[in-house]
């Protein structure tokens, strides 16, 4: 039986005119009907704050004693306590916390039970033991404090090795076998190629936030002579397998992108117009709105599970951390609030879990203008299945003599990324038996046969 791609190519080479992509030709109508019965749609949305968000200024302890410790250690980087937005969080053992003053939208999400916070998550190979570290008998992540390594490990969930295979890629390798059922990957990126969504046999489908997300090659779909002439030539040019591996990979991507665009465009054309007003000038909000549109046509894409990836760059604030966070954290918080409203409108809020990752948090001590590379950091989770309004994990007791402080106010993580991701993966539908394949080091921190949730922030 012809698979979809070969069928498309074949019909093209016969010169079949495709003025508008007839559903009959693509068989999408039937497929959609079948898929529409797939009620249990779920999506993970990963927001990468690239560069290392100084999250110890995103979530700040506000008890008198702990705030004083915070202010003393952070010196010129400390936010005034009167500016912090109070949170009412459960799961804090009575400790009080405040949010960065630019994140009132997140404050609302948390108080409405739509979002929660995870404290001091980071890359680890074993639970942090300061004595073992000092004695040099501790196993530590490769390239700790280095952007390139840490940003990669947050996407691969592998900290003892360098690999380009991400944990969403590993999920896709399992869920969509050797190829996606209709040619468009279940892993969709708003920020181009990325490690998170790269599997051994699967890769991301890259779209843009603009328009319908995927552009066609000019003239390719035009029914006039100019169009069909060009289409024939392009199909022939892309038909010869290259005698060079890099060239063949390029050819394959080019060919696949043409084919996938046809499928994707027809699907997203059916997405409803979003009535919710959102800030189109906020690039993260625009990307998340596009994600919501794609999620809404998951049945047409025959994708009962999807992951989405979007990067917000520019968090490496060695300099001007105060001003830059004041500018950038509201972008994140406001975009999350817009996204929540849009998902609510589309009836998808319970099906979509959004989470943040970042290279690391930063030194609590100052370099006089900003902060340097740190380790554990705080993160945001949002979704209808999120147990909202809570703080999960352990927020360190701040002190210059903290045993977690490995120098310059760099706090070792109290929760491993493996636990954070295990919760997300289990919710997404990865079986406990497969968890170790998706997150290779998870058993160092979590008994996958346990009846307990890894962290408990999702309704599993």
């Amino acid at each position: 039986m012809l698979n979809r791609r070969r069928f498309l190519t074949h019909s093209c080479s016969l010169g079949a005119a495709l003025p508008t992509l007839g559903s009959g030709l693509l068989g999408l109508a039937a497929m959609r009907e079948a898929a529409a019965q797939q009620a249990d749609y779920k999506a993970l949305v990963c927001i990468l704050l690239a560069g290392g968000n100084d999250s110890y200024n995103m979530l700040v302890p506000t008890d008198t004693d702990q705030y004083q410790q915070y202010a003393g250690i952070r010196s010129d980087l400390a936010l005034p306590i009167s500016d912090l937005l109070p949170l009412t969080l459960s799961g804090t053992d009575g400790r009080q916390f405040g949010l960065h003053p630019g994140m009132s939208a997140l404050q609302t999400l948390v108080s409405n039970g739509d979002a929660s916070l995870i404290a001091n998550v980071g890359t680890l190979l074993e639970p942090f033991d300061p004595v073992a570290v000092n004695e040099g008998r501790s196993e530590l992540p490769v390239g700790l404090f280095s952007h390139a390594d840490q940003i990669q490990q947050w996407q691969t969930a592998v900290s003892d090795n360098r690999t380009a295979i991400g944990w969403a890629g590993r999920i896709a390798d399992r869920m969509q076998a050797s190829s996606p059922s209709n040619g468009v990957s279940m892993n969709i990126s708003l920020s181009g190629s990325n490690v998170f969504q790269s599997g051994n046999n699967s890769t991301e489908y890259s779209i843009s936030a603009a328009g319908n997300g995927a552009v066609a090659i000019n003239e390719y779909n035009n029914p006039d002579f100019f169009g069909t002439n060009r289409r024939t030539a392009l199909d022939r040019i892309l038909s010869t397998p290259a005698n060079n591996l890099i060239e063949d990979e390029y050819r394959r991507r080019f060919r696949a992108a043409i084919d996938q665009q046809l499928i994707f465009s027809e699907a997203i054309a059916q997405a409803p117009t979003i009535a919710t007003a959102f800030d189109t000038a906020n690039p993260l909000a625009a990307a998340l709105a596009q994600i919501a549109r794609v999620a809404s046509v998951n049945a047409s894409l025959n994708a009962p599970r999807q992951t989405f990836f979007v990067t917000v760059g520019g968090w490496d604030h060695h300099d001007e951390v105060i001003n830059n966070q004041a500018r950038m954290l509201p972008i994140v918080a406001n975009a999350l609030a817009d996204f929540r409203a849009i998902l609510g409108e589309l009836g998808l809020f319970d099906s979509v879990t959004t989470f943040t990752i970042s290279d690391f948090a930063r030194t609590l001590t100052s370099n006089g203008r900003g902060s340097d590379h740190g380790w554990g950091g705080h993160h945001i989770v949002m979704g209808g299945d999120v147990n909202g309004g809570q703080l999960f994990g352990e927020y360190p007791i701040l002190s210059p003599t903290s045993s977690l402080d490995v120098g310059r106010g760099v706090y070792a993580p109290t929760t491993a990324i493996d636990n954070y991701f295990a919760e997300l993966a289990l919710w997404f539908g990865v079986s406990r038996g497969d968890l170790g394949d998706v997150l290779p080091n998870v058993t160092r921190f979590y008994d996958t046969s346990s009846a307990d949730a890894p962290l408990g922030f999702l309704t599993l």
Partner: protein, 568 residues
Amino acid sequence: MSSNYCSSTLRRSIIVLLMIFALAGCGGGGGSATPPPVADTPPPPPVITKTQLQEAARFASQATFGVPFEALEPMARQGAEDWLTQQFALPVTRHSPTIVEILQRREAGEFDAFEEDIEYLIFARRLAWWHNTITAEDTLRQRVAFALSQIFVVSDNVDILEVYPGALGTYYDLLLTNAFGNFRDLLAAVTRSPAMGIYLSHMNNQRSNPDAGTFPDENYAREVMQLFSIGLFELNADGSRRLDGAGRAIPTYDNSDIGEFAKIFTGFSFGGEGAFFGNNDDPRFSVPMQMFDAAHEPGEKRLLNGFVVPAGQSGDADVEMAIDNLFNHPNVGPFIGRLLIQRLTTSNPSPAYMTRVSNAFADNGNGVRGDMQAVIRAILLDPEARQSAPGDTRGKVSEPVVRYVSLLRQIGVESDDGFIAALGYFLQNETRQHPLSSPSVFNFYLPDHQPAGALAQRDLFAPELSITNANTVIAWPNFLDAVLLGSFVTDPPQGFSEVRLTPDRWLAIADDPAALVDEINTLMVFGRLYPETVDAIIESITPYEEAPLRVALAIYYVAISPEVVVQQ
């Protein structure tokens, strides 16, 4: 119109230049205006074969930002080695003078009618980059500088570097001037560059202050090691990692080394007249940063391989010792060598190729370490770069910026005022690449990017494929469609002339589709197009009888083909 601008079309000037080289290369032989004595007619120059033309075109794809067809024969006659010698000797086409000229035009009110806020300040360095890179005679130097700009990354995504046109202009000139010098000088100049000082925040970085609880900024200290000199792991000359007794890679430095280097890079601020430490408001990008010893961390610093910078010397002396400490680390040759190879010839150099380039870095033959000319020669003249036999792992994805500039230089461009104006935003939006506009210090792609599938199975790297996704792989042909078949060749701002293509040579042979495609194939793909591709192009263009359309379509098809995108 300014007298400094190119007055004739680019193609013509490149041809003339290459003819001059050819003459010099053959000791003033053929082509002289003086008739030779009848009785002593020199033997005619040997006929250049098509294969030799293709080899010249392939060399040009590695060593230049593109040459026109007419340049291939002189290059083939001259040979790669002599061509390099002549390129090394050419004066530097610096970008700052062009920026200054644009700013003078702005000051004179030429753009007032179009001016919005600070736009032309931002445009100036982009305009200078495109005009100079497209028109420069020292195209090898421009190509190497672009490669260096992807190692020593600074970016206009930092506001101050975007709006002060001198910031990135001066920085690029620094790369151009040092491209054919010594790597040590290059590393020192980058370290003292105000643009780098802003970008990696060692500008106004001060000594630790125990009372305030502040410490030196570690940013530059980390990246100068990880990205600009030695990398993360100890390397053998062949580029492989050295292993310890347990078979593990050996880190080149740890966090305490970073802390020590961070102390070294304290005390810098803007230089120039009336300079003072902590100056944030009066940027001076045209002079190196100045060291202020009062803000410099005192005491000794323990650097790599047991080297100790003694206490009590000046900050400048500290910095020089630290640069030496890095420069003399055995990793620099293989580490920097690989990055340059990846930008110029192949994503996957063999261990033998790596060793030859590392050796050239270590010793140029006269006992000099770090001679960039020796390194560039070793990269471009290596048998692995020069051999034309096909291999299934060689070559690289050509960078979008290189592809585009090469296309313009191959076809030829002109404009009414002689200035080849472009802003590059359109290209950047479609391809995610623009000079000095990387999203982070990690450049547009990582050297170890390894796509899943066949490439990963063979343990092969393909950095540029990380910006080749479903979105950009379609955007590229559509961009070319606009350049070649639309009215858009470049994206000049208002106040600058439109740029036109000058494919005169191909218009003249357009009535013969096979000959037309064959010539474009030779120039752009060194004759590598697959027979099916050639047939498809000829059949597609033949129905179009208007020569401009036929030529534009032929170029479009060749330029979008995987054969030309993957330079090998």
